[in-house]
Amino acid sequence: MTVAATSNSPPTTPGGQGGVRLARSRRNAELSLLLLAMVLVAAYGAMVEASVLDTVTPSFWVPAAALSAVFLGLHVAIRFLAPFADPALLPSVALLNGLGVGFLHRLDLARATPAERAELATFAGIGGRQLAWTLISVALAAGLLAVVRDHRSISRYAYTLGLAGIVLVMIPAVLPPSISEINGAKLWIRVGGLSIQPGEFAKLALLAFFAYYLVRKREVLSLASRRFLGVDFPRGRDLGPVVVVWLISLLVLVFEKDLGTSLLYFGMFVATLYIATERVSWLLIGLVLFFGGAYLAYVLGELIGGPFANFYLRANIWLDPFADPYNDGYQLVQGLLALGSGGMFGAGPGAGQPLKLPEVQNDFIFAGLGEEIGLFGLSALLVVYLLIVERGLRAALAVHDSFGKLLAGGLAFTLGLQVFVIVGGISGLIPLTGQTTPFLSAGGSSLMANWLLIAILLRVSDAARRPVAGGGASSTRPPGGPPEQLHGAPTEVIRP
C-alpha cells in the first residue's frame, strides 16, 4: 500500500504483514493467558485481604471467579464470532479490568469499618458496582461482535455516527453546570444517581466517522498540495474539515473546561488524518494548531479569564503544584505524594493509604495503585496498555481495507493517547485533566465504551488474521477489502 510497506514485504505477499497465511486461531493461547490473568487477579485480591484484614478470608476468590466467568463467556463468544481475533487483547484487557475491580474492592474495604468488612458482598460498594459494569460491558462487547460481523458494515452508518458523536460531545457543554459539571469540568450527564460521560462513546462514534470521511477524501487530501519549505502543504480549501475539528476541540476546551478531552479528540483526528494521507504536513499543522490554541487559551485565561480561566488555572497548577498545596494544587500534590510514597516497589497491595487521594477511584486510580504496587507494578501496567495499543495497530497493519486500517489504527492510538493524557496528568507530565483511566477507573460509561473499542479491535483483527477461503496466498486481491463493498467510497484506491 505504501512505499515503505511494500519495500518491507516480499512482493509475493501483497498487503503488508502476512497475517493472511496464519490459519491458526490461537484461541487456546488466549484461554491460557486469560486464566493466567485471572490467577493474578485472585492473587492480588488475596494479598489485599492479607494486608487490610490481616487474614485471607475463605471467599477471597469470589470476585476473581465472577470476573473469570464473565471473561470466559466472552472468550467462548469470540471462539464462535471472531475465531481468528488477536489472542492477546482479551487477556490483557481482562487483567487491567480485573485489577481495577480488585483495587476498587480494596477501597471499599478501607472505607468500611472492621465490622462491615466481613459483610461486604461481592456486588456491594464501588468494587461490586464495577464488577456489575464489567458484566454489562463484556456482554455489550459480545453483542457488538455478534451484530457487526464485518467491520466495514460500520461505515454504512458513518454520517449517523458522526452526528451522534458531535451531539454526544456537545450535550454536557449546553447542559446547566448542576447537571454536567464535576470538579470544574463539564463532561457529564447526571441523572439521579447515575453519571454518564457521553464523551466516552462520542470518541468511538467520531472515530468511525473520521475513518469513513478520510477514506473518501484521502486522495484529494494527500495529492493536491503546494510545496513550501520542502514540505507539501495541503490546499487552503482542503483545510476545511481539519479546521472544523480543531475549532470543535477548542470549543470543548473552553466550554467543557477540559483539556484532556480536547486533546484526545484533536489527537485522534490528526492521527487518523496522518494515517490516511501519509503526509507529515498534517501532523505539523495539527501540532502547531493545538499547541498554539492551548497557548492562546492560556494567555487569554491570564488576561481576560472567563471561560479560559479554568485552563489557565490548570496550567499553573501543572507548572507549580506546590504553590497552593491545600486548595488548587491539592489533587495533583496528593497524587505525586502517593506515587512518591510508593517508591520503586510500593507499599504492597492493600498496604497504602489510597483514601488520602481525592478521586482515587476515578482520575487518580493510577496514583492509588502506584502507592501500593510501586514503580515496577505501574511499569508492568503501562506495558500491558502498550501491548493492547500495539496489538490494535498490528490489526490495522494486517487488515486490508482502508476503513478497517483507519478504524483500528485510530482506536488503538486513541486508547494509548487517553492513557498518556491521564497518567501524564496525574504524574505532572502534562496539565491534569479529568480523563478516566481505561479499564481501571470506576464508572460504567468508560468501561462500556472501552470494551466496545476492544470489541471493534477484535473484529478488525479477526478480519486481518482470517485465512483466505480457498484463494491461498497467491491471490492478488486482498481478502475482505474490495473497495466496492465500502458504501459510497469512490476515492478508495488499493495500491499494492
Partner: protein
C-alpha cells in the same frame, strides 16, 4: 497506509516512554522528597501508629494516647480537659500542634535522635515502642486551685490568667488562662468535628485559645511600681526616704492631673517610699518616675525582662511556648525629647506599658529570690517509654540578675508591707511571709479596669517557695483585692503540694 501506522506505533511508544521516565522521576528520584513531604498525610498515619508518650504532672498523665480501631491507631486524649489546656497545648490531626505537644513533639512521637536505642530495638523486636514521656513542673494542687479559683472568681469576670513559679528554680507551678477550652474535640480523628470545634473556639470573642498567661500583654498598672521602686532604690532612695506625694499632681508639660485611687491614699505632701508602695500612691510614683528619667526607668524594666521577645517556656534551652514581649512603650515627644506626662503615667504602669502575667510573676520571683531571676520552665524531666531511661532533667538556670540582693531585700520588705498593711491583705497565708503588689490598670475609656496581683511567699526560714501573678480582666475598680485573694490561694496550694518545701 502502513508506514504511518508504524510511525504512530512509534509515537505511542515514545509517549509511553515519557510516562515511564516521568514515573521514574517521581517514584525513584524524588520519592524520598514526596514520602517525607509536610503535605503527605501518610507521615501522620505512620506517626499515629506509635503510641505517643504521656505528658504528666505530679505523677498523673494529662495527655495520653489510647488505642482505637480506626485508620489512625492512637487517639490523643486529655483527661485534664480544660484545666491543663494551656499548660500542655494539644495535638490535632490536621491543625497545628501547640504548647508542650508541639515543643516536645520529637520525644513524644518517638522520632527524636536521642531515642535511637528504642528505634533499633523496635527493628529487632518488630514492636513499636511508645514515645518518651514528658513530666511537667506543674503542681496538681496549685493547678487545681488556680483553675477553680479563676473560673469561680468573685469578681465574676470571664477573662484572666494565673501563673505561679518556684522563685528558686523558675519551675512553673501553675499555669491557667481563662476562659479555657476542652482540647479533646480538637484532637478528634474526625476532621470535621475537630475543625468545627476549632472554628467555634476561634470565633469565641473571649479568645479561649489565647494563652493569656504567656502570650497576651495588658497595662500592668500599679504592679509596675515595683520596677519604678527598684530604679529609685538604686538611685539613692531608701524605703524610709520621703518622696513628694499629694492628692493630685500634674506633670510639667501636661494638663492631665494624676490622682490616687482614693482620697485617703497619700494626701500628705510627702510620704516614705515604704508607704507609697504600701498604699499604692500614684502621685508619689509619678513624681518619682519623672525624677528618675525615662532612660533609667526603661533600663530597669529591661533588666527585669521587659522587651525580651525570644523567651520560651518549655524545656530549658529548647523551644517551648513562646512568651510575648512585655514593653515599656514610647515616652517621647515627636521631637525626641522626653514626654513628661507619658513618663509620669508609665511610672505607675499606665500609658503604653504592657506586661504578660509571666513577666509579673518573674518580677515577684526575682524580688523573692534575692534579685536572681531564674529562667522559667515547664518540663522537669523526659523519661523513656520504659520509665527508667532518663533523657532530660531540668537544671535550673539563671536568666538574669535585675537587682542586687540588697535592693531585693528592700523591695521584699515593702511588698511584705503591702500584704501586711496595705492593698494586698487578701493574699496572706498563715505561717508564711507573703509579699506582693496589687495593680488596677486602666486600658481605655470604655473598658473596665484590669485587676492584677503579683506576689511571693517565703517559708519560716525566709526561703522563697512560690511567686505568682494573677490577672483578672475588666473587673472594674477594686478587682485587685480578688486577684490578691486568688494569688494567696494558689501559693498556699503550691506550698502544700508534695515536693515543695
Amino acid at each position: 497506509m502502513n508506514a504511518p501506522l508504524r510511525r504512530v506505533g512509534v509515537v505511542v511508544m515514545v509517549l509511553f516512554g515519557l510516562l515511564f521516565a516521568n514515573l521514574n522521576r517521581i517514584q525513584a528520584y524524588k520519592a524520598d522528597d514526596y514520602r517525607n513531604s509536610d503535605y503527605n498525610g501518610r507521615v501522620q498515619v505512620a506517626e499515629y501508629e506509635r503510641k505517643r508518650g504521656n505528658i504528666e504532672a505530679g505523677g498523673t498523665a494529662f495527655a495520653v494516647s489510647k488505642q482505637t480501631d480506626g485508620e489512625l491507631e492512637y487517639l490523643r486524649t486529655y483527661p485534664g480537659g480544660a484545666k491543663y489546656a494551656h499548660a500542655i497545648g494539644y495535638k490535632p490531626v490536621n491543625l497545628a500542634d501547640t504548647g508542650i505537644e508541639e515543643a516536645e513533639n520529637a520525644f513524644l512521637a518517638g522520632t527524636s535522635d536521642q531515642l535511637i536505642g528504642d528505634r533499633l530495638r523496635d527493628l529487632v523486636t518488630g514492636d513499636e515502642t511508645a514515645g518518651a514521656n514528658v513530666l511537667l513542673t506543674i503542681s496538681k494542687q496549685a493547678q487545681d486551685v488556680a483553675y477553680e479559683q479563676l473560673r469561680d472568681n468573685r469578681a465574676g469576670v470571664s477573662k484572666g490568667a494565673a501563673i505561679a513559679l518556684d522563685p528558686r528554680t523558675g519551675a512553673v507551678q501553675a499555669l491557667v488562662s481563662m476562659p479555657s477550652f476542652d482540647p479533646n474535640p480538637l484532637a478528634s480523628h474526625d476532621s470535621d468535628e475537630a475543625t468545627t470545634a476549632y472554628n467555634e473556639l476561634q470565633q469565641n470573642p473571649d479568645g479561649p485559645l489565647k494563652n493569656r498567661a504567656l502570650g497576651e500583654v495588658l497595662p500592668p498598672g500599679s504592679t509596675f511600681k515595683i520596677v519604678t521602686a527598684a530604679a529609685a532604690l538604686e538611685n539613692g532612695v531608701t524605703p524610709d526616704t520621703k518622696i513628694p506625694a499629694g492628692p493630685s499632681w500634674t506633670p510639667p508639660t501636661s494638663g492631665e492631673p494624676i490622682e490616687n485611687a482614693a482620697a485617703s491614699i497619700c494626701p500628705e505632701a510627702e510620704v516614705t517610699l515604704m508607704n507609697a508602695v504600701t498604699e499604692s500612691c500614684n502621685t508619689g510614683f509619678a513624681q518619682l518616675g519623672v525624677r528618675l528619667g525615662a532612660d533609667t526607668l526603661k533600663e530597669k524594666a529591661r533588666q527585669f525582662g521587659f522587651e525580651q521577645d525570644d523567651l520560651t517556656v518549655g524545656r530549658l534551652g529548647e523551644d517551648g511556648e513562646p512568651v510575648a514581649a512585655s514593653r515599656t512603650g514610647s515616652m517621647e515627644n515627636p521631637d525626641g525629647s522626653v514626654d513628661q506626662a507619658a513618663l509620669a503615667q508609665s511610672s505607675i504602669g499606665q500609658r503604653d506599658v504592657r506586661m504578660t502575667p509571666l513577666q509579673g510573676a518573674l518580677i515577684a520571683a526575682t524580688v523573692a529570690n534575692d534579685g536572681n531571676q531564674m529562667r522559667p520552665y515547664l518540663v522537669s524531666q523526659i523519661l523513656g517509654a520504659d520509665r527508667t531511661t532518663n533523657y532530660y532533667t531540668a537544671e535550673p538556670d539563671e536568666l538574669r540578675q535585675p537587682v542586687s540582693d540588697q535592693v531585693a531585700a528592700e523591695l521584699r520588705e515593702m511588698m511584705e508591707s503591702v500584704v501586711q498593711n496595705g492593698t494586698g491583705r487578701n493574699a496572706r497565708i498563715s505561717g508564711y511571709t507573703v509579699g506582693g503588689k496589687t495593680g488596677t490598670a486602666e486600658s481605655g475609656p470604655d473598658t473596665p479596669e484590669h485587676a492584677w496581683f503579683i506576689g511571693f511567699a517565703l517559708d519560716e526560714d525566709g526561703n522563697p517557695v512560690s511567686a505568682v501573678c494573677v490577672l483578672l480582666e475588666e473587673t472594674g475598680d477594686g478587682g485587685s483585692a480578688e486577684a490578691a485573694r486568688i494569688a494567696g490561694q494558689i501559693m498556699r496550694a503550691a506550698i502544700a503540694s508534695p515536693g515543695s518545701r
